[in-house]
């Protein structure tokens, strides 16, 4: 995935861990924004309103 299938060694490892770290931060920000936007609507729908 992302062309990093064969990444290894010191540089490759830093790149792989960096990708995981960036994904984690993007998901934190992205899902946070999504929760603020869609959360109330979803709660109303699940609550049967």
């Amino acid at each position: 995935m992302f062309g990093l299938e064969n990444a290894s060694g010191v540089g490759g490892a830093a790149l792989v861990v960096g990708v995981v770290l960036v994904e984690a931060i993007l998901l934190y920000v992205g899902y946070g924004a999504m929760e603020r936007l869609l959360g109330p609507t979803l709660v109303r729908a699940l609550g049967g309103e």
Binding site: M1, F2, L4, E5, N6, A7, S8, G9, V10, G12, A13, A14, V16, V17, V19, V20, L21, E23, A24, I25, L27, Y28, Y31, E35, G39, V43, L46, G47, G48, E49
Partner: protein
């Protein structure tokens, strides 16, 4: 023909994302208890042990980053305690590894480790189930966020923690939540949990988090936040070391994380809806079933019956699905009850 996304089969990505949601739900709700599912599941799916361990570790690292950011926003990370715990735990892990090598030389390492692991997991499971069912609700995982910010109530501090706090060997440390404890006591507890962690070859979150609460007396939300902060470092370093050998598989970690980050938000939202005692008993049962699953796998290894590996995975995943399902059903039921109550009061 199977479609591919970024060079990976779409059904495989969807399966990992779905599995991630399940794990995230448990992690978000309980603050622990999800990550131990990943590595055994990957091994049963046929991945090499080093790939399963490395990818599981990278997943734990990323999950801890997200959860620590969340806990930091809520003021639930004690950095000073976290750094001390990292120092003590690292030393403990090294000594634990020496003990493990000594047992390996005697040829009894696997048996001893399996017995301790099953006993520990089962013991914590019995304790949480017992306190949730017959106790005063003081055991296990509390979601009382108020305790994170204010002074901790003396009645909420476990007796063992009160005893440890009573040893006033200087220098004394002031921790979040108004807890004062000797630096040496923190290091002793950190060393002991590290020892166990190094000995058992596990990350140790399920040992360290209860230790911070039951032994040092830190309020549960801060214990969870600080434990996660420590996992960021241990998981990050561990992932990096495995990645040097090319063992971290991103086509596992990326979709798993995308699902688990979503599930964790759902789990965290559910904590404000569900009465924790209703669910705590399920969590205790899940740990107990986890202990049984590990025992079944070890028996399978001992008598050379690989089918027991699959039985073990079915027990673990089944238990996780049961608990996650209970959290979702209880949350939706609670939301509907609140909605009905607000409608009838408006009428």
């Amino acid at each position: 023909m199977t479609t591919e996304l970024l060079g990976v089969a779409t059904p495989l990505l969807a399966m990992f994302a779905g599995f991630g949601v399940l794990i995230g739900l448990l992690f978000g709700f309980f603050g622990m208890g999800g990550s131990f599912l990943v590595t055994p599941a990957l091994m049963v799916m046929g991945y090499r042990t080093d790939v399963a361990v490395a990818s599981g570790l990278a997943f734990v690292f990323a999950t801890a980053v997200i959860a620590t950011l969340k806990h930091r926003d809520l003021g639930q990370v004690d950095y000073k305690l976290g750094v001390l715990m990292i120092a003590g735990t690292t030393a403990g892990i090294e000594v634990g590894k020496i003990g493990l090598h000594a047992l390996q030389a005697m040829g009894i390492a696997d048996t001893v480790v399996s017995i301790i692991y099953v006993g520990l997991l089962g013991g914590i499971g019995v304790f949480i189930t017992y306190t949730a069912t017959w106790g005063d609700g003081g055991g296990g995982i509390s979601h009382d966020a108020d305790a994170a910010h204010g002074e901790v109530d003396a009645n909420d501090i476990p007796d063992v923690a009160k005893k440890i706090q009573s040893y006033r060997v200087p220098p004394m440390m002031e921790l979040r939540g108004g807890v004062t404890v000797s630096l040496w006591m923190i290091l002793v507890v950190a060393f002991a949990t590290g020892l166990l962690s190094g000995f058992l070859g596990v990350g140790g979150g399920f040992i360290r988090m209860p230790a911070l609460f039951y032994l040092i007396g830190v309020p549960v939300p801060i214990a969870v936040g600080t434990d996660l902060f420590e996992i960021v470092f241990s998981g990050g370093i561990g992932s990096y070391l495995y990645a040097i050998d090319g063992a971290v598989n991103l086509s596992i970690v990326v979709p798993l994380l995308a699902g688990s980050a979503l599930g964790a938000r759902m789990g965290a939202a559910a904590t404000s809806l569900v009465e924790e005692d209703d669910i705590k008993v399920y969590f205790g049962v899940m740990l107990l079933l986890g202990a049984i699953a590990v025992a079944v796998r070890k028996v399978g290894d001992a008598i050379d019956m690989p089918v027991l590996d699959s039985v073990s995975l079915v027990i673990i995943v089944g238990a996780a699905m049961l608990v996650a399902g209970a959290v979702v059903v209880s949350s939706v039921r609670e939301m509907r009850a609140e909605s009905r109550a607000s409608k009838s009061s408006a009428d």
